[in-house]
């Protein structure tokens, strides 16, 4: 017990003194996960909207697969991306294995199904309500999809934040494709795993506290955005 309180105290000191090593790790985490969530959203939101408003062969199968991919194990994604990016792999020439770029790729793959599948659900629900009205006004599939993306913007924010939470909290994919290299690819989760096994509990705990606060802040933000939007726009 004394160890934990000591470690917590040390963690607090590191956080509030903006320990450079700690800051570096936190900033890299944010950079990697925010980039991944941005790319996943740019692809996933329109993809979700397109699946929601179009009828085509294999649509149901695609939806089932997307839903299933939400549960992708990070280590498996890490392994696949590792194989693709390794020297002998098909994308080995890019030379990005063990760089933040590789971590962005892995996390994007991990959260793209979450963003696409959940937004598909939200947009399709809205589509049921809007369909006749939009068709009556003469909206084609593209216009309908854009209109629905805009009209469901508040739940979509929640989905994007959920994607970010998943990316920031996972360790399996980034440790495989990033390699947890000090000062290069070390992020919060990989650092926590490493420091814990080394016995450096203050740093691990400090990172854990920051990670938790981040997730908490995100959820608070998501809740607040939705509440405010509901009040303002009905």
């Amino acid at each position: 017990m004394r160890e934990i309180t000591q470690a917590l105290g040390a963690a607090g000191t590191m956080i509030f003194s903006f320990d450079p090593k700690l800051s570096e790790i936190v900033l890299l985490s944010l950079r990697v996960s925010l980039t991944a969530v941005a790319i996943a959203s740019i692809i996933g939101l329109p993809l979700g909207a397109a699946i929601a408003v179009n009828r085509f062969m294999g649509r149901r199968a695609l939806i089932v697969v997307l839903n299933a991919l939400m549960g992708l194990p990070p280590v498996v994604v890490g392994l696949v991306v590792y194989l693709l990016l390794s020297r002998a792999g098909p994308l080995g020439d890019l030379g990005i294995l063990f760089t933040p770029a590789a971590m962005v790729v892995a996390q994007t793959i991990l959260i793209l199904p979450i963003v696409a599948a959940l937004s598909r659900q939200v947009i399709e629900d809205a589509w049921q309500e809007y369909r006749e009205q939009l068709r009556s006004l003469g909206a084609g599939p593209l216009t309908s999809a854009i209109t629905l993306l805009w009209d469901t913007r508040f739940p979509l924010v929640t989905i994007v934040l959920a994607g970010f939470g998943r990316a920031a909290a996972e360790v399996g994919a980034v440790i495989i494709v990033g390699g947890n290299i000090d000062g290069v690819t070390r992020v919060m989760t990989t650092a926590i795993a490493l420091e814990t096994s080394k016995g450096d509990l203050p740093l691990a705990l400090g990172l854990g506290v920051i990670l938790l606060s981040l997730v908490l802040a995100l959820n608070a933000a998501a809740y607040w955005v939705k509440e405010a939007a509901q009040r303002r726009y009905g």
Binding site: E129, Y130, E132, Q133, L137, Y233, G234
Partner: protein
């Protein structure tokens, strides 16, 4: 684009016939009211006319010149408001009708003024009352200057006050030269707003009669029974 000519139009879902060989020519001029009990096919017939549904067999042809979706409009029983301001909802309809950006704002402002919603133009549409939302739906349809306006039980969910306002707006739209085609449950409303009655029973067009004649001397036994039955409750 009028007259609208239906020839032997049948609409069936999963083998169940909802509209049964309806042939009719709907021309400019008289206000057409589609009457019938629940499940008679009123709304489906209107959706077929408006092009939201495709007939299973038979043909629906606009015989006149100047065909196009922007020349017809429809207001639904439950208005679908986009998550944006009242004014932006009207502007959206005008954009899809291909109206130039400058004219959209002007026209939208005018039509909101005409239906008495100028004071709430900036409010999010979904925060308006049910009656205001339906008036806004009327404004959104009217702003496009349609040749034909389809109204699917537009006052079914409204209180008497809002019903009166919507009826007044229907009168204004009619006065601006738009053909009115409307379904209703309300016999009083049919008398007030209609010139001719199309009476549907079991998906068939049973009779087409001028409104005063319909209520005093219906041509068919079904219509006679319908009027007696309805009058018990009104």
């Amino acid at each position: 684009m009028l007259p609208l000519v239906l020839d032997q139009v049948t609409f069936a879902v999963n083998g169940k016939t909802i509209i049964d060989r309806v042939s009719i020519e709907i021309g400019a001029g008289p206000r057409t009211i589609i009457l019938g009990s629940n499940g008679a096919g009123k709304s489906v017939l209107m959706r077929l006319c408006h092009g939201l549904l495709e007939p299973t067999s038979g043909s629906i042809v606009w015989r006149g010149a100047g065909n196009g979706r922007q020349r017809q409009a429809m207001v639904f029983q439950r208005p679908v408001m986009l998550r944006r301001s009242a004014l932006a909802n009207v502007v959206y309809g005008l954009r899809l009708a291909g109206i130039s950006p400058r004219e959209r704002e002007l026209r939208a402002g005018d039509v909101l003024e005409a239906v008495g919603l100028a004071s709430v133009a900036g409010r999010p549409a979904r925060t308006l009352s049910g009656g205001e939302q339906q008036k806004l739906a009327m404004a959104r349809a009217w702003a496009r200057g349609p040749e034909v306006l389809f109204l699917d039980e537009p006052t079914a969910n409204l209180d008497p006050g809002a019903t009166r306002e919507v009826e007044t707006i229907i009168g204004q739209i009619r006065a601006s030269g738009t053909k009115i085609v409307m379904t209703t449950h309300n016999l009083g409303q049919a008398k007030r707003l209609g010139d001719e009655i199309l009476f549907l029973s079991g998906g068939r067009l049973v009779e087409r009669t001028p409104v005063d004649q319909f209520f005093t001397k219906p041509a068919s036994a079904e219509a006679d029974a319908f009027i007696r039955g309805e009058l018990l409750w009104t």
